[in-house]
Symmetry: C2
Subunit: 231 residues, 2 copies
DNA sequence: CATTTAAGGTACTTGGCGTACCTTATGTGC
DNA sequence: GCACATAAGGTACGCCAAGTACCTTAAATG
């Protein structure tokens, strides 16, 4: 229970302030997080471990969740998407990494945080970039390369389309609550959904021939009423 | 604050038991839920409103969440998928209904519950059927009709493929925390993702080959803001 | 050295879930 | 009808951690 040289007891050492203290708190929080998950992250615990008190924490983060998110971010790193030279390979690899992450202890924490944030967009946003999923950028990167190689249709370079695979994967975790997703499912997502979707849609060699039908309003389709369900 | 004849004060009436009491509790819980959301659903509150006490509740449900889910289910009804005679129409309509539900007060409650369940599969499962979304059945129904009409490829009759649209929609709510999804987004999901995916993939001389229009701007639009990475 | 700023120390309020325990109806089987 | 088992009513309380208040004390600032 004695603290390490960095996060020392409030004993005889010099009193830390500013960045140094913040660092110590974050470090302590990250430790608690890895040891006991978000559920086990208590303000008193962090304060004690950092050799300080709750005041110092609340001066920096408004509540436990913010601290939890900050600590989580500290535990993750960013990576760049694979470049295997093959669309399928890239996609599968990127999905597998995501799957590994979500299945890891860190993934469990991420889910706890996501759950605790429960729709608070600002907080959600801070997790997004790390959960690496919604992040469209890497997917667009993968697809751009594929388009250049002629493996994907240019129309696929659209955030909503590009991220379909990861959204389906995340769905498994978030909505179905599975601890990990089997590789078969990943393959299925790729082969049954993603590739058919992003590949040149017409066997035609002229991409603009079919689909990119010149704009024109998204179909009238009025009739917004029809109540039955809800409320 | 006086109770109605059904959920009466513990005063002079006859003591309810079994099903009658259960009904009263559930009714009270549903009321609390609609008035204050899951956050405002307290065991003491429900007990008081039902004119009973917490014991009676805990004898039936193990914890607050279970009660919340039971009460939520009581507030929802099931409906069957539309049959407009047109794939796009059916899909859009079904998405719109889901969107309305998720955007409604009931949808907010659903999100709270989902968040509170936080990956507890058994509980999640109980919500699934009602959130009516993940439920693959209605989607398969819609697609079967479309296949019969020659509007969709038989390969699309696969749960993972069939439910793609709703998964993307739910993603907006659950992950991005938006209060409601604009109709434009629904249209985008349908035209950019769903229809291209389920339609006969190699359009030949078929009548259905003349893609009735992935309309609107297919413009690649490499997405302005990007910059996040992953893991 | 005086003053301001932030850290340390403590104790306390709050809020609700979940439990314990006892009393009192109800209803069922004899 | 009566006695016993069963379940409801009534209350109080333990618990646990979040967040707050307030004062003391060390460090920066100048």
């Amino acid at each position: 229970m004695t603290e390490d040289p960095t996060g020392r007891p409030g004993a005889g050492r010099t009193r830390r302030r500013g960045a140094a203290l913040e660092e110590a708190i974050l470090r302590a929080a990250a430790e608690e997080l890895t040891e006991a998950g978000y559920a086990g992250l208590t303000m008193d615990g962090v304060a004690a471990r950092a050799g300080t008190n709750k005041n110092a924490i609340y001066r920096r983060w408004p509540n436990r969740l913010s601290l939890g998110i900050a600590a989580y971010r500290r535990l993750t790193t960013t990576v760049s998407p694979p470049d295997t030279g093959d669309l399928r390979g890239d996609v599968l690899e990127w999905l597998r990494r995501a799957n590994r992450h979500w299945s890891s202890p860190l993934g469990v924490i991420l889910r706890e945080l996501l759950s605790a944030a429960g729709g608070t967009s600002e907080l959600l946003a801070q997790l997004q970039e790390r959960s690496g999923d919604a992040a469209a950028a890497p997917w667009l990167t993968i697809l751009e390369r594929a388009v250049a190689r002629g493996e994907a249709a240019p129309e696929a370079l659209h955030p909503r389309v590009a991220t379909v695979a990861i959204v389906l994967l995340r769905n498994e975790f978030v909505v179905r609550g599975v601890p990990t997703v089997s590789d078969d499912v990943l393959v299925e997502i790729v082969d049954e959904v993603y590739l058919p979707l992003v590949r040149r849609r017409a066997g035609r060699d002229d991409p603009a021939a079919r689909d990119p039908g010149p704009a024109d309003a998204p179909r009238p389709e009025p009739d917004p009423r029809i109540g039955a369900r809800e409320e």
